[in-house]
């Protein structure tokens, strides 16, 4: 305890004597840490933050079903219902489009585009359909009560809305060429998280190229953000380590005569080592604490700069560890050199 208080009092005395140098080191290292934190926060802006991770792990967006792999619409329908039954799948935005579709849209500048038909799982009875208000059938727009024939099946228009739709069950009775069908799904949500083998079975059942959950996509995106953050951290940490090393070397040289005095009074090498290690860690820990405090105070300013997502404490600790480790690695040889020197070499002459 006595030894520790002696070390602290000596460090304080030394820093008071070299007030400009000490202030420069503290200021520079604090700004370095603050810069690292801000860079982390800017990189965090591109991170995908999921509110419900469980739902994200069960949600597979933009699923493409290779309808050509099915011999008929009936088989396709069976596969979709089996997916519902076996895996608790809910299809969101299940749509059907085909070059043979008699419904189309005329868009200015783009010409004729085939209208897509949503396969609605609720609200519509067999034989009923809703039509897009801009859709044309045989060159004419449809109104309520009109009849339209889609893939060999007659439908009665029950309402004019912002999209065309038929009941999901009707898919089984359509006589469309599956090779020309384009079945798209906005997203599918499973009841429970799927194991790898279940995912493969579902993929095979739907003849889908790939099933990537929202969670997997977010993890891939965030991995690249995280590697950017680490790169920035290493760059600025490298700069701050260089500053610490250069200024600390000067501080060591200026503290050398005092160390010589310690040695004359019989201080052991361990005392000198402890003195310098505490000296060095003080130059890292105090600015880190100051930067963390200032960063917390600047929260309102970050929001004004559209940086709303905070950085995880683990990243800040990563920065601290990187700076501390690099500083220690590069300072140790000098420290050992000073510890081995005789008092006369440490400029104690009087």
């Amino acid at each position: 305890m006595k030894k520790a208080s002696l070390i602290f009092s000596e460090i304080l005395r030394d820093q008071r004597q070299e007030i400009k140098l000490t202030a420069a080191i503290y200021l520079t290292v604090t700004v370095c840490f603050l810069s690292i934190f801000v860079c982390f926060r800017v990189a965090e802006k591109d991170k995908l933050i999921l509110e419900d991770t469980d739902l994200a792990a069960r949600t597979y967006p933009d699923v493409f079903i290779s309808s050509g792999e099915f011999s008929s619409c009936g088989e396709l329908y069976s596969a979709l219902t089996e997916a519902e039954r076996e895996y608790g799948v809910t299809f969101d935005g299940l749509r059907l489009r085909s070059a043979d579709m008699p419904l189309y849209l005329e868009l200015e500048g783009l010409g004729r585009i085939d209208d897509s038909v949503r396969l609605s799982q609720e609200g519509l009875q067999p034989g009923e359909m809703t039509v897009n208000e801009n859709a044309l059938y045989m060159g004419k727009s449809l109104t309520v009560g009109d009849k339209a024939e889609l893939f060999g099946k007659s439908f009665s228009v029950v309402s004019v809305e912002n999209e065309s739709a038929i009941a999901f069950e009707e898919l089984a009775s359509l006589s469309a060429d599956t090779g020309s069908l384009d079945i798209s799904v906005g997203s599918i949500v499973t009841e429970k998280s799927l194991s790898a083998s279940q995912k493969n079975s579902l993929k095979a059942l739907l003849h889908s190229d790939e099933l990537i959950s929202q969670m997997d996509t977010a993890e891939t995106e965030n991995r690249s953000v995280s590697s950017d953050q680490k790169l920035i951290c290493i760059l600025i940490a490298g700069l701050s380590v260089l500053v610490i090393l250069t200024l600390f070397k000067q501080a060591m040289l200026r503290a050398a005569p005092r160390l010589g005095m310690f040695r004359l009074y019989g201080a052991k090498n361990s005392f000198v080592e402890a003195f310098f290690l505490i000296y060095l860690l003080g130059y890292i820990l105090l600015p880190f604490a100051a930067a963390t405090g200032i960063y917390a105070l600047l929260e309102g300013i970050f929001v004004r700069f559209y940086l709303e997502h905070d950085t995880a404490i683990s990243y800040k600790l990563f920065a601290l560890t990187a700076v501390a480790l690099l500083s220690l690695i590069f300072t140790l040889p000098q420290l050992v050199d000073i510890v081995r020197k005789q008092p006369a070499e440490l400029a104690v002459r009087r």
Binding site: K45, G109, V243
Partner: protein, 364 residues
């Protein structure tokens, strides 16, 4: 001169590590300045174009039956619609847009090189304005026959009138786009061999006080859509994109300044002593200033050079395609680095008076 350079180099050798740190910080700071200044400059130009052209009175015509609507508007007001026609360019990166005469009369297009299109002049080819990404390939005042890269299909003969300032173009999506590979043509005689054309129309209602009331039914169902409809939302998105860059610029400027302070304190004592020695052996203050000037020039010139290389590289990346990398911003950063360093050194040199010389000599 050689002795001054040698003296400047000996001063740099006092703290080579910190000099390198400072150089790295300066490079990052200059690049950030270029990026941030460019983004802010684009924002300012967009605002300026909006105000200068009175775009709060502009309306997009979004109806599926534009021709009937335009005929009605023209009959009611005696004006023409502003027509923008997109045709297939040389490749997927290069767009050609044909502006109607009314557009050139309503929209103030600024050029950085060459001249605006003179609507009454016969250029012997289709007159056009290009953006900076094409300015390297096509010279102002020359006629070029443009072909598609893929099929070598001739698009037409184009006379390059000028280069559009800062690559800011009127957009079909509520505002202004930044595009470095864009051609704006004036083709009243339909000389361009068009394919895959798309077009949109805009109505300039400036001076028509009752326009909004008279066509309120069209405006309500978005057949006539005010330019302001999403403009503020788009501006908000732009601000959201720019502000983090601004913060990074502030952070790296602070980092450079603290690096400068550390460098100053680390080398200050030795510099003052050396200056005192120089004065003792008869050097004049202006000679010390010259040595200081050379030292700072060396420490700023290398980062400046590197930042120019960095900027040239960034122009080829995604950032360069979506954001203006401002040369002016880079020069400001270089000036700032040089100015602050020179000022602090000058104060140190001026402080080398007779009394301080004896003080430094006693120290040594």
């Amino acid at each position: 001169m050689r002795k001054y350079i040698r003296a400047a180099l000996s001063q740099l050798a006092y703290s080579p590590v910190l000099a390198v740190v400072l150089c790295i910080e300066f490079v990052v700071m200059m690049t950030c300045f270029s990026l941030c200044y460019g983004a802010l400059e684009l924002y300012r130009i967009r605002q300026q174009m909006y105000e200068q052209n009175g775009m709060s009175d502009w309306y997009y015509l979004r109806s599926g039956e534009n021709e009937a609507l335009i005929s009605r508007l023209e009959a009611d007001t005696g004006r023409s619609a502003l027509s923008f026609e997109y045709v297939e360019g040389m490749n997927s990166d290069t767009q050609i847009v044909i502006y109607s005469e009314a557009v050139f009369k309503s929209l103030d297009i600024l050029v950085s090189k060459g001249e605006r299109i003179d609507l009454s002049r016969d250029y012997g080819a289709v007159p056009c304005l290009i953006t900076s990404g094409l300015a390297g390939d096509y010279k102002v005042g020359q006629i070029y026959e443009l072909k598609t890269d893929f099929e070598q299909r001739t698009i037409g003969s184009f006379y390059i009138c000028g280069v559009i300032k800062d690559d800011v173009l009127f957009s079909p999506t509520y505002g202004f786009d930044y595009d470095t590979r864009h051609i704006i043509a004036y083709d009243p005689e339909a000389r361009i061999n068009k394919r895959m054309e798309q077009h949109f129309d805009v109505w300039n209602a400036s001076g028509l006080t009752d326009f909004a009331d008279k066509y309120s039914d069209y405006i309500e169902r978005n057949a006539i859509q005010p330019f302001d409809y999403y403009y503020s939302a788009r501006n908000e998105l732009e601000r959201e994109r720019i502000m983090p860059y601004v913060l990074l610029m502030i952070v790296f400027t602070t980092l450079s300044l603290t690096g400068l302070v550390a460098y100053g304190i680390s080398t200050g004592v030795q510099l003052r002593r050396q200056n005192a020695l120089f004065r003792l052996v008869g050097a004049k203050r202006r000679q010390l200033v010259l040595i200081t000037f050379l030292r700072i020039l060396m420490i700023v010139a290398l980062p400046a050079l590197l930042s120019f290389v960095g900027r040239a590289y960034m122009r080829t990346t995604d950032i360069g395609e979506t954001t203006l990398l401002s040369f002016r911003g880079q020069l400001t950063a270089i000036g700032l680095c040089f100015g602050v360093m020179f000022l602090s050194s000058l104060i140190s040199v001026i402080g080398t008076g007779r009394e301080s010389i004896s003080e430094r000599v006693r120290e040594m």
